[in-house]
Structures are given as structure tokens and as C-alpha cells.
């Protein structure tokens, strides 16, 4: 649990720091005319919303991983998971998807429609490929309820990968909508923010996956 406390303390610390940085020490009763600088962050609301959401997801996975570690250390006879090799491939695929999406975001900013199309198709295919790879990993780890009941490590593996996969699916829904708008001939300028946010989210999910994978490997 202390791990989680540290992560949350860090998040809260960042929030407090950011609040302090924006002059929490002002003396509002002095009624000096202040300039109209109320926007604390130079970001669109969508981007702030995404960052807040990513903080929530970070908290979620930090707690899952803490639970994993505590469950491991609390019990006698914990049986480690045999990491299936396909997870290395999946990791590479997700990394590639993340890169592809960044390229798509760059291409949109640069106004290159063809490059955007290629990168979008690649990112979508790779992401779906990652999910398919995860399904294969389940089969390798323990294909039936019997294994899930018998081994908490396998049960955790299922839960962690499913929760991560669902977050990726949510991202794919947003990416899909943006792609439809792109296919429908939307102006590239209108897609800039959407794809840039998708890229950020994909990088974040890659980091989450690396954390999950790292814990499964090394803890």
C-alpha cells in the first residue's frame, strides 16, 4: 500500500505545486486590479480533461499493482506467472502503434493528408493487433476458468490485461471517430487536436503497459 501512497502523494504534490505556482499566496482582499490572467494552464480544456483522466487511470493501475504486490507478499505458496513470450511481441506492437499515432499527429499538423492516412491505418491496425496478441497471451497463460481460480497470479494477469485493453478500446473508439471524420474529408486543421490527444493517450497507455509488464516480470 505504501507504493500507492507514494504515487498518490506525488500526484497531490504536483497538484499543490501547480496551485502554489499560480500564486496561492495572493492577497485577494487588497482588491488590486489584476490582469485578466485567469487561465492557469495554456492548454485547451480537452487536453486538461485528458490529463485529469490520465491521473485517474494512473491511480487505478497503481492501486491494482499495489494490490498485486500485497497479495503476493501476504500469501504462502504464491506461484509466479510464466511470462508468455508473445508479451514481448505485443509490447513492440504497442510501441509501434504509439509511434504511428505520433506520426499521424505530426502529419496532420504538417497538413500532409496522405501521410496522415498511412499513419492512421498503421496505428489502428497495430492497436487492434496488440489486443489480438493479448488474447493469444491469455491462451498461453491459462486458457480456462480452472487456471484462473487456481492461481491468483493468472487471475491478476487477466484482470490487469483486460482493464488495460478496455482503456485501449476506449481510445480506439475516439480514434475511430476521428478517422471517420478524416475519411469523410474533414479539414486537417479540425483534426489536429483530436489526433494529438489520441497520441498522448497512446503514449500514456504504452507507459501503463510497460509498468504492468515490468511488475509482472520483476516483482
Amino acid at each position: 500500500m505504501s507504493n500507492t501512497a507514494i504515487v498518490v502523494a506525488l500526484l497531490v504534490g504536483i497538484a499543490v505545486w501547480f496551485a502554489v505556482a499560480s500564486r496561492l499566496t495572493a492577497k485577494p482582499w487588497e482588491n488590486r486590479e489584476q490582469k485578466g490572467d485567469v487561465g492557469v494552464l495554456h492548454m485547451s480544456p480537452q487536453r486538461i480533461g485528458l490529463w485529469v483522466f490520465m491521473a485517474v487511470v494512473t491511480s487505478l493501475f497503481a492501486l491494482f499493482l499495489t494490490a498485486y504486490s500485497m497479495r503476493m507478499h501476504h500469501s504462502i505458496g504464491w506461484c509466479h506467472l510464466t511470462i508468455p513470450n508473445i508479451l514481448w511481441v505485443n509490447t513492440a506492437i504497442l510501441l509501434a502503434a504509439s509511434v504511428a499515432l505520433q506520426l499521424a499527429a505530426n502529419a496532420v499538423s504538417g497538413g500532409r493528408r496522405d501521410a496522415t492516412r498511412t499513419a492512421l491505418v498503421a496505428a489502428g491496425t497495430l492497436s487492434i493487433g496488440f489486443l489480438a496478441g493479448q488474447v493469444l497471451a491469455w491462451r498461453a497463460v491459462g486458457p480456462s476458468l480452472y487456471f484462473v481460480q487456481g492461481s491468483p497470479a493468472i487471475a491478476f494477469f487477466y484482470v490487469l490485461t483486460i482493464v488495460h485493453g478496455l482503456h485501449l478500446l476506449g481510445g480506439l473508439a475516439v480514434l475511430g471517430r476521428a478517422s471517420l471524420r478524416f475519411a469523410g474529408g474533414a479539414e486537417l486543421v479540425d483534426l489536429r487536436q483530436s489526433l494529438s490527444l489520441c497520441a498522448t493517450y497512446w503514449h500514456f497507455l504504452l507507459l501503463v503497459w510497460l509498468a504492468v509488464f515490468g511488475v509482472l516480470l520483476f516483482l
Binding site: R23, L24, W29, P45, G49, V52, V56
Partner: protein
Amino acid sequence: MAYVAIADRDAPIHDPHTFIEKYIWSQDHKVIAIQYSIVAIFVGLVALVLSGLMRLQLGFPDSFHFVDPNQYYQFITMHGMIMVIYLLTALFLGGFGNFLIPLMCGSRDMVFPYMNMLSFWVYLLAVIVLLASFFVQGGPTGAGWTLYPPQAVLPGTPGAGLGIILMLVSLGIFIVAFTMGGLNYVTTVLQARCRGMTLMRMPLSVWGIFVATILGLLAFPALFVSAIMMTLDGTLGTSFFMPALSSMGQAPEHDGGSPLLFQHLFWFFGHPEVYIVALPAFGIVSDLLATHARKNIFGYRMMVWAILAIGGLSFVVWAHHMYVSGMNPYFGFFFATTTLIIAVPTAIKVYNWVLTLWKGDIHLTVPMLFAIGFIFTFVHGGLTGLFLGNVTVDLPLSDTYFVVGHFHMVMGVSPVLVVFGAIYHWYPKLTGRMWDDRLGRIHFWLTFLGTYAIYLPMHYLGILGVPRRYYALGETEFLPQSVHTVNAAITIAALVVAASVVIFLYNMIVSLWRGEKSPPNPWKATTLEWQTPDTPAKHGNWGPRLPEVHRWAYDYSVPGAPDDFIPQNVPVDSRYATGTGHHG
């Protein structure tokens, strides 16, 4: 500046035309606030009835046969969960958060109105799933509101089949709803304030709601995690929390799970949850006190810092709920220390409320009565908290009525008094009508004195050693006869307080038609929501131009000013440019 794009738009963000768009699938924050509030108050009434049934059983154990032991535990569980999550959290953040944030910050609406609408409907779904558990086989779960495994999912506990699953699913849905709402509240406060509304000019209500939302966003995932894992334990037979055990002569397949892990996860959510409810109450009560005492809030900056400090500390005190759980005893020292440290910023707030009243021009309006009542109940509950925060004192008291008295005082009665006060305070802006003042006063005194009649004796029962969670005490040698008399008296007081809620509801509903028409700013308050061009505020809130803020929210009784309040959007005049406050 990024904010200009949203806040300074002249046209509303969305433009509803049909009845359904305006009142059902509405994206207007004010309508969503009312929707949230109505549903929350409705489930709250269900939980209130449950508590009445429990009190009948406790006060007159042999007289009522419609509450059997199983139902008693189901009522306890549902009462606790509904009150904490589905009433207080939803009402403070979904109700007041939605109504107050855009109005007090001077924006036209939340920044993601569509997601805001979804948030309400998903919340409604969570409530429906929760209430559905009353109608399934086995009834709702009776595991206690903390849902501790292994008993929560084992046969023998009422509702161990579908009841507990529906509860966990409902909590999961609620958290999704809360996250959608929470993203809105945080982003709106950060990015959609009107010109001049710096963070340190925000009213404390917004500060309380803002920080509570951040706490919720970070703490609810812990409940989400435990709900998912317990659902799997209950349905698929995994062993996240379930140890090897024998249950009713059977040996379930579970092996090696950790019930203590659940307790850590639950309270890692559960303690911040106390402050998710308390911080909005702190903020709102500060604004009520300042407005009705016609005085600037004492120590505004300290109040803001205290809210932030309490928010941060609330994440490192969770295990003080677990002194008797069998965790490492050394943990107790650490958590007792952090628990006592959190009393410091909390005490600062209490001093500042009292000092705000000091030499104020106190108007004992109905909202003010509730706000002052809150100071009493909160100090009371806070002081008993100091007892329970210490390991050695907590051990003998932990399973007694002392704890019931403590937590009802501090997070039951206190936030509810603020809810009442806030509804009386903002109702005129919401509906354009005033309440019947006399009925409001009767409601206040019945509630305030009644809750003391209920919870004060519980501390005495606890010190005598009366155990909590018991369906009936029976003839127990170590308990004197006075225990039974007190229990009967508590029940009568509880029924009177419950009846006073009828007065409140009657007043609220009848005033919609018969209430006097409200002026735009009946309390002569400074904050922006009272300065809207229309009362009740129309869609888009501000007419053609957004307000511009020139001062903080507490310019009351400024020397030399023509009125005893200067709204936030009044430009600074050199004659009385500096406010009255010099506290920081």
C-alpha cells in the same frame, strides 16, 4: 489566453429547443444539478426510512416483528452506503458542484456539457441497479457498508448471492458517473473562469468542491479496484480476498486470499471519502457564515491552504479505521500521528468560522441557523474523533456505539446540516421563490436538537460497552436497565427528526408555487451567482456579456461603501478600494 475561447463566448455552448432537450436530456448544468439533487434526495429518503426501521427494532426490540435479523443487516448496509455515496457524494458534487461551479466562476456552463449529461444518467443507472437489489432473490447485501470479505460473499450473510454483486456493480457504475462529472468540475474550475476570477478570488464553496473532486478522482479507483476483484471472487471463484476457509460445513475452493488487502483498499478510498463529503461542506458553510454575518471570511488564505492540506493528508490516514483489523501494530503509531496532524488544519477552519462570527452583524436566517448548527455538531464529532484516533482508546471503543455516535455526528449530521442550509440559501436563485421562514425554523430546531438527542446518548452507550451492529441486546448482565431506556428515547428522537424532514419537503415543494417571489439577491451576497441578469438564471447564465470580476468574494461591510456588501463584479472605486479584511 486559452480560457477566452470558452468563457468569453457570447453564444451559449449548446442551444436546446424542445422540452426533452431542456429538461430531460439536458446539457444545462443547472438542470443537471436539479436532476442529481432530486435523485439523491429520493434515495436519501429511502435510506432514512431504513434507519427508522432499524431504530424501531433497537428501541423496542420485542414489539416489531417486521424486521428480522437478516433484514436488519441489509438495512444497515443499504442505509450506510446510500447515505455516504449515493446521497452525500452525489448531492454535494453532482448537485451543488454542478449548480455552483459555473455560476460562481462566471461561466456559461461546464466545459464538457454532453459528458455532464451522461454523468447524471449513468448515476441514475447506478441508483437503479442498487435499488434493484431490494427485489432480487435473497435481497440486498447485508455485509455492512464496508462490505468486508470473506463474509460479504459467503452464504449465511444476507444477500450473499445477487445482492452483493448488484451492490458492487452499482458502485462501479457510480464511479464511472463520478469520473465523468469530476473531469468536468476540475476542468471548468481550471479553465472556464470569467475574466478577473483568479484562483484566490474564488469563493470557498468552489474551493471545497474543487479539492473534493480531485480527492474523489484519485480515491474512487481504490473502490473500483476492490469492487472488480471482489466481484470476481464472488462469481468466478478467484481468491483475491478470500482465504482458505470452511463455511457452513463446506470448504469453498478459495485459497490464500487476503481479507486485509480489501480493508486497505476500501479505506484507502473510504477515508478520503469522508473529506469528499466534508470539504464541500466546509466551503459552503464558510460562504453561508460570511454572507449572513455580513463579514469577510476570517483568514481566507488559511482557509484555502487548510482545504488543500486536509485533502493531501486525507490520503495518509486510512488505516486508522483498521486498528482492530490485525494489521501490523506499528502501523497504528504512524496512522495515529497522521490522524492527529489532520486535526490541525481542521481546527484552523473551525477557529476561522468562529472568528468570522465574532463581532459580525449576524442575521439569524434559516441558512445561518444551519451553518451555526454545523459548527456545533462538527466540533462535537471532531473531538470524539481525537479519542478514536488514538490506538489505545480506539481498541475498547471500536465496536461500540461510541463510534456510531462519532461518525454520525461528524459525517452524517454535519454535512446534512450544511445540505439543508445550502438548499435554504440557494433555493431563491434556483426557483425564484422564497421559503416559508417559520417552517424552516421549526425544521432547523427539530433537526438540530433532535440529532443531539439521538447521538449524544450513543456516546454514553458506547462507554458502557454497548456493542454496535447487534440486532437485539437481549438480557445482558453488564448492561444496566438505563441502556434500554436510552435506546427507546433515541428511537423516539430519531422518528421526530425523520418527521421533520417531511416539513422540509413540504416547504420545498409548496414554496415552488406559494412562495413569495424572490428578489435577485435576497441575502445581499457578493458572489457572482446572485448577480445573474435573470432569477432563476436562464440558459447560458449571463445574458449577452459575461461578468468581469474585480474583487474577492467577501467584501462585506466595507467602510465607506454605500451598502454593506460589494458584489464581485463591481469595479474597484478609489473611495473604498481596500477591503476590510487584513487577515491572512
